[in-house]
C-alpha cells in the first residue's frame, strides 16, 4: 500500500493540480479543531504510516459530480460540453461510477480547408479504487468502458485558379463508438462540507468505431480525436457526497 501511495503521489502531483497544494492546505486546516486529528495523521504519515493506517476512514455513500471544466466550454465557439456523473462510494474503497455527457465539437484544426462538427451523447461506466492519503485527500485509480452515439458533418473547399470553387458537404449520422479508459485521479474535501474538488487524468483506448472514406470521423464526443489510438484527457469536477 505504501508503494502504491508513493507511485500515485509521483504520478498525480505531476498531472493534477489538487495534490500540489494538498499538503499545504492540510497544514492550514490543522489550525481548525474539526480536522486537527486528520492533519496530525498526515504529518505523521510521512514518517510512520503503518501505525496510523487504521485512522483513515473511507466514507461510503451516493455521490454526484459535475465537470466544471466542461461547463466553461459553453462560452466558447469551438465546443460545448456537459458532463455529470453519479456513483456510490463503498466502504471497501470501491466506487462504481456512471458518467454521462453531451458534446458538440467544432475542432478548427480538423481540416485546413474545411469545417467539421460532431455532436452526440456518451456514457461511461466503470469503477474506481480509492486510496485515501488522509481523511481529506483521496487518490484513486479506475477503469471505464465508454459508449458514444453521435453524428458529424462538415464541408471542404477546393479553390482553383481557372475553375469554379469546388465545395463539398459531408456528414454521417447514427455513428457509434466504444472505448476503454484508464483513470487516475485525486480529490480533496473542502473543509467540513461534503463537497470535493477533484481532477482526473484519463487515457482512452478506442475499441470500435464507424469509419468512412474519404472523410473519416475526426472527433468522437466523449472520446476525442480519432487520429490516435489512445487519447489523453484531463477532467476537473466538483462532487457532492451524500
Amino acid at each position: 500500500m505504501r508503494l502504491l501511495q508513493y507511485i500515485f503521489r509521483i504520478l498525480l502531483v505531476a498531472i493534477l493540480p489538487f495534490n500540489a497544494f494538498a499538503q499545504e492546505d492540510s497544514t492550514s486546516v490543522a489550525d481548525s479543531t474539526i480536522n486537527q486529528a486528520d492533519t496530525t495523521y498526515t504529518a505523521a504519515d510521512s514518517t510512520e504510516i503503518t501505525s496510523d493506517t487504521t485512522r483513515i476512514q473511507t466514507r461510503s455513500g451516493l455521490f454526484l459530480a459535475i465537470d466544471y471544466g466542461k461547463l466553461a466550454t459553453a462560452v466558447s465557439d469551438f465546443e460545448s460540453k456537459f458532463e455529470a456523473s453519479i456513483g456510490f462510494q463503498l466502504s471497501n474503497r470501491l466506487a462504481p461510477v456512471l458518467e454521462i455527457g453531451y458534446a458538440i465539437l467544432n475542432p478548427r484544426t480538423a481540416f485546413e480547408n474545411g469545417t467539421y462538427e460532431s455532436a452526440g451523447v456518451y456514457g461511461r461506466f466503470g469503477i474506481n479504487y480509492l486510496i485515501p492519503l488522509d481523511n481529506i485527500n483521496i487518490y484513486y485509480a479506475g477503469l471505464r468502458y465508454g459508449l458514444s452515439s453521435y453524428e458529424d458533418e462538415g464541408n471542404y473547399i477546393i479553390e482553383s485558379d481557372i475553375f469554379e470553387t469546388y465545395s463539398v458537404e459531408f456528414g454521417e449520422s447514427n455513428q457509434t463508438a466504444t472505448w476503454f479508459e484508464i483513470v487516475l485521479g485525486s480529490e480533496k474535501k473542502i473543509r467540513n462540507y461534503n463537497i470535493y474538488l477533484g481532477g482526473l487524468f484519463r487515457l482512452r483506448f478506442i475499441n470500435t468505431r464507424d469509419k468512412f472514406v474519404p472523410i473519416d470521423t475526426y472527433s468522437i464526443p466523449g472520446y476525442g480525436r480519432t487520429l490516435d489510438k489512445s487519447v489523453p484527457a484531463l477532467n476537473l469536477y466538483v462532487k457532492y457526497l451524500f
Binding site: 466553461a72 466550454t73 480538423a110 480547408n113 475553375f163 474519404p214
Partner: protein, 211 residues
C-alpha cells in the same frame, strides 16, 4: 486557498483562451494539375531537314578533300582545298547553330500566349520565356477539363480526362486526378509520362504535345 481559486476558476478560462485563436482556411494549392511540354514539330522537322542537308554536304566535301589530298599529278589544287575547307567550316558552324535551336525546341521552350479554361479564365503563366513545362490546373469538380491554348497567335484545343479521388493528407482535403488522358483535335499528343513510374497521379504526369 488562493491557489485553489486559481485552479478552479482560472484554469478552464486559460485553457479556453488558448484554444480560441482564429484559424484561416487554406484553400489554395490543393487542386489537381498536370504539366505539359509544347514542341514545335514543324520547326523541328525543318531543322532536321536542314541539318541532314548540311551533313550530306559535309560528307561530299570530306570525300573531295580526300580525293584532292591523294591527287599526285602535279596539279596545284591548294585554292580548291582552301575553298572547300572554308565552306566546310562555315556550314559546320551553321549545323551547330541549328542543333542548338533544335535542342531548345525539343526542351519545350516556347512562348505560350494564354491557357484558358472552359470557364473563360486564363491560367497564370510564368513570365520567363525559357519556361519548358507549363502547369495546367484541372477542374476539381468534374472528371473532364477543357482548355484553349494560344501559341504564336494560333488557338489549339485540349481535353483532359481523369478519375477524381478525394484524400485527406496532413489535415487537408485534396482532390487528386488519376489516370490522366489527354486528347486534342489540333495538337498531336506524343506522350503522357509519369516521373514516378508507380504513380498514376496527374501531379507526376508530363504531357508532351506537338504543334
Amino acid at each position: 486557498m488562493r491557489k485553489l481559486v486559481f485552479v478552479v476558476i482560472l484554469f478552464p478560462w486559460v485553457y479556453l483562451a488558448s484554444s480560441c485563436e482564429d484559424v484561416e482556411l487554406e484553400t489554395t494549392g490543393i487542386d489537381p494539375f498536370f504539366r505539359i511540354k509544347f514542341i514545335n514539330a514543324d520547326s523541328l522537322s525543318t531543322l532536321d531537314n536542314l541539318i541532314a542537308a548540311i551533313e550530306e554536304r559535309i560528307e561530299i566535301i570530306d570525300d573531295s578533300l580526300v580525293f584532292y589530298d591523294t591527287l599526285d599529278n602535279g596539279t596545284d589544287v591548294s585554292n580548291i582545298v582552301e575553298r572547300l575547307n572554308l565552306e566546310r567550316s562555315a556550314i559546320d558552324t551553321e549545323r551547330t547553330e541549328f542543333n542548338s535551336t533544335k535542342a531548345i525546341i525539343e526542351s519545350g521552350s516556347v512562348v505560350v500566349n494564354s491557357i484558358t479554361s472552359s470557364t473563360g479564365v486564363d491560367a497564370k503563366l510564368p513570365g520567363i520565356d525559357s519556361t519548358t513545362l507549363f502547369s495546367i490546373p484541372l477542374n476539381p469538380a468534374q472528371d473532364v477539363s477543357l482548355f484553349e491554348i494560344s501559341l504564336d497567335g494560333t488557338l489549339y484545343d485540349l481535353e483532359a480526362n481523369y478519375t477524381r479521388n478525394t484524400v485527406v493528407e496532413l489535415r487537408t482535403v485534396i482532390v487528386q486526378a488519376l489516370d490522366l488522358d489527354v486528347t486534342s483535335s489540333s495538337f498531336e499528343v506524343q506522350s503522357i509520362e509519369y516521373e514516378d513510374s508507380l504513380s498514376n497521379n496527374s501531379l507526376d504526369a508530363i504531357v508532351t504535345v506537338h504543334f
